[in-house]
Symmetry: C2
Subunit: 273 residues, 2 copies
């Protein structure tokens, strides 16, 4: 361990779990024909960049993309530890159904990721896009940190869900993110109808995401199965130079077919009246 | 109009509605004894700061706090238009019950706010804290923009709701923000129980906010009325130097009374198992 590793706290003192936001350009390469990738400073505040640059220990969904992120950080903020010396542990894949009933093996694996924090080092948690532990499996690590008495510090950064909500113009004083819809057609239709009913009864905006290559299929199902007067919104490529957000009634959308790109992240939301 | 106002687009071209994030330190003065206010660059990305600095027309909840925000922006980014020449229009107070059934007078008042955009100028929408149109009445303006064919561009910035969710360690793949709970005691208890049931049935994290001076009363009600094994989290002063987030079971909270400050914004969340 280098002597100048300032992330080492005095003896016995635990490190913290720092929640480091990522950009929203997952899967975008910035190559010709695509939107250029934004400079990290345009979308991440300095607080997050400085925190990221000072870390050595990470918990991530993917080590390769985390190193790519650190490379982008290094372009705008000197790293305390060179990328090749960074310690990146990968989150175990959660059991199907999320963290509902994690097995004890899963619990133990998650706790083990926090060993550096128990030894006095700050640990960064990072997601593939946006805020960690929002719409991704990272929350198990955060909960384990609370249980172990490790301080959790979230850093401000972009979240596609609330950016899409803001840009939708749909009710922002009550909203729900419900993850992915079923892929199987009849189950998907049923879920769309259930969520529309919930939206109407609770006056609650419903938000979902989809794997980009299925964006067009999800859009088609929403336009086809939601009621005519339901407001339907889509945000595509948020924070990218050619990103856009549009909202209209389902009736209007039926008259105005929309082609969604199959490689750009999108967020879908609706509000029934 | 100054000749160098670059927000003026060519004839006929509409301006855009830019969603400018604010900080999360609403109501905090940074005076001795309080947390110092963060440098704007620490919590807002450069993209948002540059967009804010280039605007002249605003729609805001409050003109005075918007000028205070612009003064903070000016400390880190030169404003294109001096503060005293900025055109800040204030959002009409929404009718009780939110935007559910806005009267036509309300609709007209909201549309009028977009006149500068129809005349070719970019208009900034800003909230008292965090992202505009999330947990505030700004969504009516955004929806009016979509209806008028005005492009809506959200800028990345902090949202206390998703930061609190990330920091809670509660399920982040399904969550709902339900605004404020009723103030009246028996209605509040009923709502807490309903939302706990919903959380259990849907495995969905529930988030609420409260006016800071009622933080302690809400906390007491949650600890008293949620089930013992429900996970309950509170984030206080997010992005402030002395902000913190903690999560434990209700059973643990009952043994560990917590004093919540009465002037610092907090976000509450829970997940029933």
């Amino acid at each position: 361990m280098p002597l100048n590793d300032t992330s080492v706290s005095p003896a016995q003192k635990k490190g913290r779990l720092l929640l480091i936001p990522n950009t929203l350009d997952l899967g975008c390469t910035g190559e010709p024909g695509e939107s250029p990738l934004p400079d990290l400073r345009e979308v991440l505040p300095l607080g997050a960049l400085q925190a990221a640059a000072g870390l050595r220990y990470w918990v991530a969904e993917n080590a390769k993309t985390t190193r790519a992120f650190l490379k982008r950080v290094a372009e705008v903020q000197a790293l305390l530890t060179p990328i090749q010396e960074q310690d990146i542990q990968v989150l175990p894949r959660p059991p199907k159904g999320g963290q509902k009933k994690p097995g004890s093996g899963q619990d133990q694996a998650v706790r083990a990721l926090l060993a550096p924090a128990l030894a006095g080092h700050d640990v960064g948690l990072i997601s593939e896009a946006g805020l960690p532990a929002v719409a991704d499996p990272g929350s198990a690590v955060v909960l384990a940190a609370h249980r172990a008495g490790i301080e959790v510090v979230p850093f401000a950064g972009p979240s596609s869900l609330v950016l899409a909500l803001a840009a939708s113009g749909l009710h922002g004083q009550s909203f729900a993110f419900v993850g992915y819809l079923p892929v199987e057609a009849s189950q998907r239709v049923q879920r769309i109808r259930d969520l529309e009913l919930l939206s109407r009864k609770s006056h609650q905006t419903q938000l979902v995401i989809e794997t980009p290559y299925r964006n067009a299929a999800l859009w088609q199902a929403l336009v086809q199965h939601l009621q005519l007067d339901t407001l339907l919104s889509v945000s595509c490529g948020l924070t990218l130079a050619d990103g856009w957000s549009r909202t209209a009634t389902v009736e209007q959308w039926r008259k105005r077919p929309l082609n969604l790109p199959d490689k750009v992240p999108a967020v879908f939301s609706w509000l029934a009246s």
